[in-house]
Symmetry: C2
Subunit: 430 residues, 2 copies
């Protein structure tokens, strides 16, 4: 460590536990110190020359049509939280490995999946979208027709209503990674046709208040969507991160209802039925309703709450000794843009505002970061987000007091990670 | 067509050839008209019921660790423009199929490739980055060390200096898709460590003016980079669209120099050598220099110019008859954000400003769109972009008059597509 290290460190501190200001750190001349001194003495050791590794001694592989990740990244895959349910055939879900990702975009191969009847394999040439019910004229759209309609592009997260259910339901915190604990959320750039344009073409009857959307998976997952939401920012999504939707995200078309719980973003969508009242489908009369602690049941709980998770470091990781780190995580809200994310490195006694990575977009994942000097002592890291409406993440106790003990949906409480003296990172309810 | 169609169409016109205002169109009640009337009479034809297709009659496939595109999208792949050069082993490149993509992000499997010695296959555990030369202390960074450094995230395009070389060099316009003609450009969300932080840790000697960067591919592609660029916005990129770099984009690490020609964004980077003068490497003394029409040679031509291409419609596509369409394309500039994109549907006689998809980010691809009513007559579509510095795309004639006949790099002239009466779309120099 350089002379004056502690003085310069102290001058950058913004909260307890070693949280630092990025701006003050940049001017301090304080180095992370992760690098090793390089040794360029090559005498007598040409074969061991570190500047000419084996793979640089002959030409590599040719170009290829569609690339795949490096073989060394085989561990970076979706975790199969529920591989396949035989009693309810095809009920299965997999989580995005948030702890291995950086930035905000989820690559298409790692976008989380929830299937109620398996992954449908649809021939796009034989697929249609019908708009019917309270419309002036019932319409059928095939893909060739849809290609001519005006398209828009937006980055949005999709989060399963049941994301983080282990933390909601288990009395003792499960020790698992962010993929298992919080991986039922992903973020992508979606391109498609505004529902308002398609509905206008069918001619909306003034009596219509709801759009009952159904998909072409085996259980025909169906949800009632307020017409106003569909007309405001609902999208028939055809493309995901530039290319056509992947099968597990609803190929060849899905609904995108920014900020609404995942299952309402109907995959493999084939029918939009305009009605005066909601349909009370099986997916909204039993499933996807939440029992509250006073015994009442919340139905039609559309929007996902404001939420944040520190992904680096997070449970199952090990810190490589005391020193400087960058705390990094993700925040999102179904109600709008993220306004602030605060981080604590002393178990909630003090907090500092994290830096938000621009552009901060509404109903999209926002990456937050903050420099941190870990002194090697045990402590607890936490993050809490506030969105543009002023909504704040609750503590776990506050969340649990609102919902019945068996409720696991819409869990958005503050996540705490305990850092051990050995560098271990554990899930704790604190 | 509804009554008053032509009146409403005329009220939305913003330029010749049928270019329309999105805002005026939205209020006009004008329908695209691509949909068919739906027939819900199911009597006696239960098996042909279009609402219960075959794939909805049984549960689908289970979740999986890493997803792949639908089997019906097999044609959406990189085009192997130069598969593998045996005389210069491994010299090869493939283009992004821009004509099949929407939005702005290029999915990682489709990011263009240019290899001078094939795709290197590097064991990340054995890879190092050295910073040496005019520094206070030479440093060696392995991946474990780099993981602790502060990371930033930005969306940026990378474009090969030779992108669009067919249009630059061929006397007769080649009839091929955007993948062949313009596919050596892609756009991704990159995450990595600012070079300024790594260089500061090594301690930059005041005499240093250049950073000579070299990669661990077989030909050890090396370029001299102005130190000021490296310090301003240079990045050691580790992640691409959230996940680790793909091998063909430099796994486990590459340089990102926003706006600079592709080859300078050194892939598989292993050495940053700080010097007083450029190194005049083989890749910048012969290759990647441009002969001008006056006989002089331009070396160190770093930044890519302002450019735009209409991707929908584009050559090799066929229009499905007269009527409403959305013209859609991509624009980018190495000097900053896109300021405007103008579109002509009458071969350049009149122009209208396209809508730019937000957020419009500096040195990143920007999607532009404009509604268009094609009356079925032959015409020529064109787009021209202006960036934040005021730079404009040249015509092909203006570009050709600046460069020697054999120069094919840094071609950014206006692209024209001829629409035939039969709906065909052809590459033309107009």
């Amino acid at each position: 460590m350089a002379d004056g290290f502690n003085d310069r460190l102290r001058s950058a501190v913004v909260a307890g536990g070693g949280l630092l200001s990025r701006r003050r750190l940049l001017g301090s001349g304080l180095a992370v110190g992760g690098a090793a001194a390089a040794n360029f003495s090559l005498a007598g050791q040409v074969r061991a020359d570190p500047l000419v590794p084996e793979w640089a001694t002959s030409a590599g592989e040719p170009v290829r049509g569609y690339g795949v990740p490096a073989i060394y990244e085989e561990n970076v895959k979706r975790t199969l939280i529920k591989p396949y349910e035989d009693l309810a055939p095809g009920y299965s879900f997999s989580g995005t490995p948030l702890q291995y990702l950086r930035g905000t975009i989820t690559p298409n191969g790692l976008h989380f999946e929830v299937h109620h009847g398996g992954r449908a394999d649809i021939d796009p040439a034989a697929h249609n979208l019908f708009i019917h019910g309270l419309v002036e004229r019932a319409l059928r759209f095939d893909l060739a027709a849809l290609e001519r309609y005006p398209m828009v592009t937006h980055v949005h997260f999709i989060e399963c209503a049941g994301n983080s259910f282990f933390n909601a339901l288990m009395d003792e915190p499960m020790q698992a990674g962010c993929d298992m604990l919080h991986g039922l959320v992903s973020n992508a750039e979606w391109t498609g046709i505004p529902l308002s344009i398609l509905l206008a073409e069918a001619g909306v009857d003034p009596r219509a208040q709801w759009v009952v959307a159904a998909g072409d998976d085996a259980p025909s997952l169906a949800r009632s969507i307020p017409l106003e939401k569909a007309m405001t920012d609902g999208m028939l999504a055809l493309y995901q991160n530039g290319e056509r939707l992947r099968p597990e995200q609803g190929y060849p078309m899905r609904l995108l209802l920014p900020g609404y719980e995942g299952n309402m973003n109907i995959k493999w969508v084939s029918s939009l039925w305009l009605t005066e009242s909601p349909a009370y489908t099986k997916d909204e009369s039993g499933h996807y309703t939440e029992q509250l602690s006073d015994g009442t049941v919340l139905a039609f709980s559309f929007g996902m709450g404001v939420k944040s998770v520190i992904t680096h470091p997070s449970a199952t990781m090990t810190m490589s000794g005391p020193g400087l780190y960058q705390i990094s995580g993700l925040a999102w809200s179904g109600s709008g843009a993220i306004e602030t994310v605060e981080v604590s490195a002393d178990g909630g006694q003090s907090w500092a505002a994290a830096d938000l990575v621009a552009p901060v977009l509404p109903r999209a994942m926002t990456r937050f970061t903050l420099p941190w000097h870990w002194d090697g002592a045990p402590t607890v890291l936490m993050s809490r987000a506030v969105d543009a409406t002023g909504a704040r993440q609750p503590t776990r106790n506050a969340w649990k007091s609102r919902y019945a003990p068996t409720s696991g949906n819409h869990y958005n409480a503050i996540q705490s990670w305990r850092i051990g003296a050995d560098g271990s990172v554990a899930n704790v309810y604190a």
